[in-house]
Symmetry: C2
Amino acid sequence: MVAGPLPAPSGPGKDRLRLWIRLLRASRTIEAELRERLKKDFNTTLPRFDVMAALYRVPEGMLMSDLSRFLLVSNGNVTGIVDRLVSEGLVARARRNGDRRTSMVRLTEEGTQAFATIAAAHEGWIGELLGKVSEDDARRLTGMLTSFRSNWEGRE
Amino acid sequence: MVAGPLPAPSGPGKDRLRLWIRLLRASRTIEAELRERLKKDFNTTLPRFDVMAALYRVPEGMLMSDLSRFLLVSNGNVTGIVDRLVSEGLVARARRNGDRRTSMVRLTEEGTQAFATIAAAHEGWIGELLGKVSEDDARRLTGMLTSFRSNWEGRE
DNA sequence: GTGAATTATTTCAAGCTTAAAGTTTCATAT
DNA sequence: ATATGAAACTTTAAGCTTGAAATAATTCAC
């Protein structure tokens, strides 16, 4: 990934390779910037933000496995992040009556308020970082990426 | 990041937020797939591939700091990855006469051959994974992402 | 020339990440 | 009822990642 600008690749299929490289560099650049700001302004991390963002949409909570599927990361990964969020009082696990294997994970009151604040800043940052992309281009790009993704949805 | 499809965000500036979410999901999906294939088919990792790809472009080698700048990752990170590649015989460090702080890092003969093989497979995978994106759309998307990036090039 | 900043790199601690193996609980077929 | 298997989750080991501190070498101001 992140291959080179020097001997600009050419030939059949190179357009897609170049697209992938640009896509990756763009998302890494933005991610790095967001990570830095989350740390500096809110003393938190991108993975914690991701988990909280997922939970924020669903007040009643999510199962660990749903969370992991939604975030595209492994089960064990989510366990660790949620552990830390719980120890910080931002998230709570609730055992369920029906199935004792599972637990509903949800934002606490404190977590909900904390996330709302961070999310507002986050949206502003995105607006700033993607400021040079016109609203029109943004919609067009989003459309292309969506159709790409539908190609992969529910593959394995 | 990777926020939700459920309460579809709307309002001013939401188009850019949505774009970012799609961008991130697309790149994470592709990255996950590549990581899995690199592991299965070549018993290597994405970070190792990235470093080798960077070095492949420049037979004479790169400084650690150039490598870290190019790959958008921290110095200490590169140290660890290069250490492992060196211990596998794929990469070599060469102390320089001029400046004894620095060392030129380059692919070994073995590393060069290994990378050529992996890179060929990699390009095929990208062609497959992005197959639904037309060459035309690929070029257009690349253009948009490039102009976005120029906004950020050499910021801090 | 000496000392102070600067630069290149490594080391370190904490946290993120995965794949694989392990635990507990549930479902279902006899 | 009870085995068998599947499902939900956690644990573990190895590796990736960052930011900050530490080392070492160079450059620059005087």
